[in-house]
Amino acid sequence: METFVSSLAQIGALIRKELLALLKEPSSRALMFCPALIQSLLFGYGATYDLVHAPYAVLDLSGGRAATELLARVDGTGVFVRTATLASPTRISDVIDDYDALMVLSIPSDFQDRLDAGQRAPLQVILDGRNSSTAGLAAGYVGTIVAEFNASLGGGVSGVRVERRAWFNPNLESRWNIMPALIGALSMLQTLMIAALSVAREREQGTFDQLLVTPLTPMQILIGKAVPAILIGLMQSTIILVIIRFWFRIPMNGSLGVLYLGLLTFTVASVGVGLSISALSLTMQEAMLYSFLLIMPLMLLSGLLTPVRNMPEVLRIATWANPLRFCTSIVRRVYLEGAGLSDVAIDFIPLLIMGAITLPLAAWLFRNRLS
């Protein structure tokens, strides 16, 4: 018992020293916490697939009542904002090419006549396909508006209505999807690097030997290096979480306990990866570049930007080695879907395995890379 307490106290001294070294200077403190704050605010507003005030232009050659009414419906959704009214078809390419309009609605001169005659009147929709996702969304909105317009015209052509109800995100806002996933991604960016640099820095500054001649065992050093990085990771996660919950007011359905358990498991796994890099690198530069080499693919294969399901088989298998993928899944499901521990238990398994491999690996590397 006494030796156990003593061993803990030794680790405690190391943790305290690591935290002091990381957070002592105001500038380094700022570097630990400001990026999480600023990025979550910027990306919270900037990272959205939703169309809001999407600019569009009109080429109305008919000038009739029906056209005016249709356009009023388009303007009325709040999704589109008319930025230009074109006089001739030659102007279409100008507004599209220069990113001035996402979409051009071109209404032919016989639009009103055909409608009056009970015929089909074509409405030409020209979309900027340079971002096919937004183009697809805009097309969807126009389709819905036109369907409603048609219904008002002829009294229910179809007679069938699709009633949509969305679970967990009633208005299908993409921010609700992206922001929770950023908790893991943004904190990993820095915690992995802090861990990766922790040993490399001591090695470069010559303090590692001094540390090794103390009675601290490699396991104690490992824990002492891991805990501060984990704490900082969780602090950053908390900052982002607070912004999501209280600034962007995205409602949280799950339990905070399960969420933090997930974040903790994830942070342990990614710190394990970082410390393994650290033990392998001889200089800080190597540690930084190798962790960067890893971070990029981890982010892309995490499901943060595009769904994992859309990836080809090989890459989907590769994501099993990606802690961020499971963190993203856990956070989204717990935060938005209110999933309980039993629902997401399966996502914990790979994270626990990763932690169980990387941390002992790092400890082994500490010991065996000394000579």
């Binding site: 030794q10 305290r16 020293k17 500054q205 010559g206 001094q210 001649v213 103390t214 009675p215």
Partner: protein, 587 residues
Amino acid sequence: MSESVPIVVAEGITKTFDAPGGGRLTAVDDVSLSVRAGELTALVGPDGAGKTTLLRMMAGLLKPDTGRLYVLGVDLAKEAQSVQDRIGYMPQRFGLYDDLSVRENLDLYADLHGVPEDARRTRFARLLEMTELARFVDRSAGKLSGGMKQKLGLACTLVRLPDLLLLDEPSVGVDPLSRRELWKIVRQLVDAETLSVIVSTAYMDEAERCAQVFVMNEGKMLAEGVPKAMAEAARGLTFVAQPPPGATARELQARLIDADALIVDAVPSGGAVRFIRQPEADERAVDALLDGIRRQARPEELEDAFMMLLRRHRGDDGAAPPRVALRTPAGGVGEQAVIVVRDLVRKFGDFTAVAGASFEVARGEVFGLLGPNGAGKTTTFRMLCGLLPATSGHLEVAGLNLRTARARARGKIGYVAQKFALYGNLTVRENLEFFGGAYGLRGKVLRERVSAAIEAFGLEAAAVSGILPLGYKQRLAMAAGLLHEPEILFLDEPTSGIDPLARRAFWRTITALAASGVTIVVTTHFMEEAEYCDRIAILDAGRMLALGTPREVKERAGDADGDMNGAFIAIVEHGRVRSGNVLEAAA
């Protein structure tokens, strides 16, 4: 080039920096000087004297806040670049590109200075011959030993003959052999090509060889002159005394240096003690202090005058040795061996760094490990501390076999690494608390030990350790290594780069520790410091060349009364001649 025109003229230059924690720190304070061309000029002074700042200003890397500075007749404030085109400057740590080879480093500087191809061939051949680097031209600079790096740095500044050469402590961390070679090169250039050189140094024997010496302290210029004339300040005050039978020179030296009202300075030398009497001290009081020991007058040297100058200006501040009152480890002084090394071998691949070293160190002994750069000292040291496993041989520290009980053995040793290896951005107290904690101290015991150490070593608890003067960094490192009251203290080049005053204080502490039963193992490049040791071992190319008391070792070298420096060089050279191709291995 006219002799009468000074090559560097400073008129009342002052340089201040932002002190950490607010305020300004005056590094160079209203300094005026005039350096003659075609001569070797020394700049001496303790840590923080402002030597480096002054040299950097001469190189145009810092701008004086006030005053004017002319180098080569050019006003630096106006045309720094034209001066930089023409001078050579070697900073304390020359910026070699570790990933480039020796030749590529030389080529880079030759290209930058526009040395034409044909001139380059002869120049390089000569530089490589002088620096003895010819066989290593294709080796990357990062893989050279400390001394070789320093020589390569000098060669890089000499790819073309500069109009003025500035050297900032070129011999710090360099072994006596390399140091001698380095000076030989400089000497040759000054004599043969009337090169003007300004060198800052902590070695008084180096300053003594210069035509002109400037002494600085705390940013101020204290004195200037020809070494011989300056030494005269100590005339009639310098003596040497033999310790009484049964006592060591170290103990007598400690007694003398503690009596700072009567004695300016005392150092052990060849079994005796050299000291300087305070000018105003009463002769009878000094004799009373010596307690019947006979003293003999000896010729004064530059170092004596320098020590007097420093003592007068520093007062007790930097000079007072820390009063270490640490608990004596169990056992006390005795004959019992606490370190046993037998047939120790360490190989790196097919390179043998240590080839069968054997020695024992008794409790309370001060044991010195000497050798040129790359001799295997550091490797031996790292094995003793458990940082590196031995390839073969027996290694026992504090009664524990390092193969089987490495962690337990580590709890019984203290280690002070080469260079300052504590956490630079933490305060003194934070560093001590961390190391105490790492050694398993906690709560009240930890707090008390830390406070005691801060008190004993005269440290400032809240000071940020990274910006302490070198001497204080070294004290802090010692304090950290002693917190857990180790039985054995390992010190790797503890005095490298620190000034004479701080070195005296350091050795006073070592003497006290050894008296209280702590075993000390130390490496050093200052050969006169070997005189403090009870026994020394000289290593070269992984082999032990000599082992014994300083006197015995000097006898082996053939001159029992000569200085340690000469003995060291003789033994190493003799050893190399015998083994022929050892140089290869030394690098």
